[in-house]
Amino acid sequence: MTRDEIFAKVVEIVKPFVKNEDALAAVNDETNILEDLKVNSARLVDIILNFEDEFDIEVEDEDADAVNTVGDAVALIEEKLS
């Protein structure tokens, strides 16, 4: 899976939780999931579970805690898949 493909899937998974549609329209690696996309912090747990299902990986709590931006998520998934 290419990085672009992973990025697109990550955006798709995050999308239902996004409260700021404008930030989503301009999404890039630096986009902060909580601050820019205004995702409710409690829902990060659900996003991580969806990453696990979609990419068939397991994300430990410490790894999940380090995900702040969309780029962080993509990098984490790339690493798990390699």
Binding site: P16, F17, V18, K19, V39, N40, A42, R43, L44, V45, D46, L49
Partner: protein, 452 residues
């Protein structure tokens, strides 16, 4: 002279001075009105569809294949239809992921009641809070679908880590009122009451009480109950659900009938925007009805009362206390919306109404059971039926109590008071509604059509 029930006005009353239900004999309490309604019912979602179904005696009871598959004695039930479509239009996708059926029903009805009252649904980005508006939204059982379908199986399988973030808010007793607070930006008291099958009626009385006391201007009040076989299973096991009419679902809920064989489980939500008269008039709101009074009590599980049966004396006291609190003559009651579930308790209930309102079979008011069409929605029942009362007062009719062409022999004398088809009542002004619940608890409220 011994002290008895507490009415809405908060005073203690004696049998001899029932009329003086107000604290210290003062009548300073603020008047409370209903300015908005919302309903999600098995026979119709939304006010106009519900009204039409009630008028037409349309049953919302259907065969539920899952109940048959799971070997329930009762395989029929009342589940509101079209709720998924409404939910998608009303709620953002992330919130929907955290909303079981009880949440969906309750939140749709609450938003509808709010907007029906002429209030705007607030923008989530608008930080203003309605500090003068709150919510009392009860449930009898709660989010057992979430518990049964996800929480318990996953925890038992050692998959707690995979539960996701939405379990607590879907199973906590106050989950629906909490969500409504966010949807409507409520800043007054936001809570959930629970008193079994009297929950919905009790919520309306409690909201009214809060407004009377000057602690709030507007309260979203009502009840919601999800559609879950886990909720209904315990009642089926008690053999209190109807088993004799599985092959004719629309005829299964038969309050006041000689062939009644237990209640039919229902679900849904009813909500009211209860408001101080002052506030309603100030903002020029359309007023449906005034809540004249109400009372809440418990029979103490004595004199035949128990966890599952009412103490008739408690029921009658509750009715009398509501009339006293409303400061009306019992003769002013034009129609009764009974609790009437289609169990053996129906004839006793009629007897209690006759005693409580001091009526004979000849002078008995019209009496109807909304459950005949929607089944028994447990914690939502009183709210769904109170919404029906206000709609009936608005349009001046009493809906039919279907499936009791064969009136129970013990109440034959009252047969003339039971409408089998819609009864137009151009003079309909005052309705009394009661709900009784497990735990021997009672709630009774009186509505009067608003005359401008």
């Amino acid at each position: 002279m011994h002290r008895v029930d507490f009415g809405l006005r908060g005073g203690t009353m004696s049998d001899d001075v029932m009329r003086d239900g107000s604290a210290g004999g003062e009548k300073a309490a603020r008047r409370v009105v209903v300015t908005g309604l919302g309903v999600v019912a098995p026979n119709g979602c939304g006010l106009e569809r519900y009204t039409e179904a009630l008028r037409g005696g349309v049953s919302g009871i259907r065969h539920i294949p899952l109940l048959e598959e799971l070997k329930f004695g009762c395989t029929v039930g009342g589940i509101p239809e079209g709720v998924d479509e409404i939910s998608e239009a009303y709620f953002p996708p992330d919130e929907l992921l955290a909303m079981n059926t009880s949440h969906r029903f309750g939140c749709i009805a609450a938003i509808d009641a709010w907007t029906d009252a002429g209030l705007e649904r607030p923008d989530p980005d608008d930080d203003r809070v309605h500090w003068e508006a709150g919510a009392i939204i009860g449930t009898g059982i709660g989010g057992l679908d979430t518990a049964g379908e996800r929480l318990i199986p996953m925890v038992d399988a050692g998959r707690t880590r995979r539960l996701g973030s939405t379990m607590v808010e879907q199973v906590m007793g106050s989950g629906v009122s909490a969500r409504v607070a966010g949807l409507l930006s409520l800043g007054n008291q936001v809570t959930a009451n629970s008193s079994a099958c009297s929950t919905g009626t009790e919520a309306i009385i409690e909201g009214c009480q809060r407004i009377r006391a000057g602690l709030a201007e507007r309260m979203v009040c009502g009840g919601t109950e999800g559609s879950s076989h886990y909720t209904w299973a315990g009642f089926d096991a008690m053999r209190v659900l109807c088993r004799a009419h599985n092959d004719e679902p629309e005829k299964a809920s038969r309050p006041m009938s000689a062939s009644a064989g237990g209640f039919v489980p229902g679900s849904g939500a009813g909500m009211m925007l209860v408001e101080s008269l002052e506030s309603a008039q100030e903002r020029g709101a359309r007023i449906y009805a005034e809540i004249l009074g109400g009372a809440i009590n418990c029979g103490g599980h004595r004199s035949g009362g128990s966890m599952t049966a009412p103490n008739a004396d408690g029921v009658q006291r509750c009715i009398r206390a509501a009339v006293a609190d409303a400061a009306i003559d019992p003769d002013e009651i034009d129609a009764i919306s009974g609790h009437l579930t289609a169990t053996g308790a129906d004839p006793k209930e009629i007897g209690s109404w006759a005693k409580g309102l001091e009526r004979s079979p000849e002078t008995f008011p019209v009496i109807t059971s909304t459950k005949s069409m929607i089944g028994h929605a447990l914690g939502a029942a009183g709210a769904l039926e109170s919404v029906a009362c206000v709609l009936m007062l608005r349009d001046r009719f009493v809906h039919p109590s279907i499936n009791c062409e064969d009136v129970h022999p013990e109440i034959e004398l009252y047969g003339g008071s039971i409408p089998h088809v819609v009864r137009e009542m151009p003079e309909l002004n005052t309705m009394i509604k009661a709900g009784f619940g497990f735990g021997d608890v009672n709630a009774c409220v009186i509505f009067r059509r608003w005359a401008d």
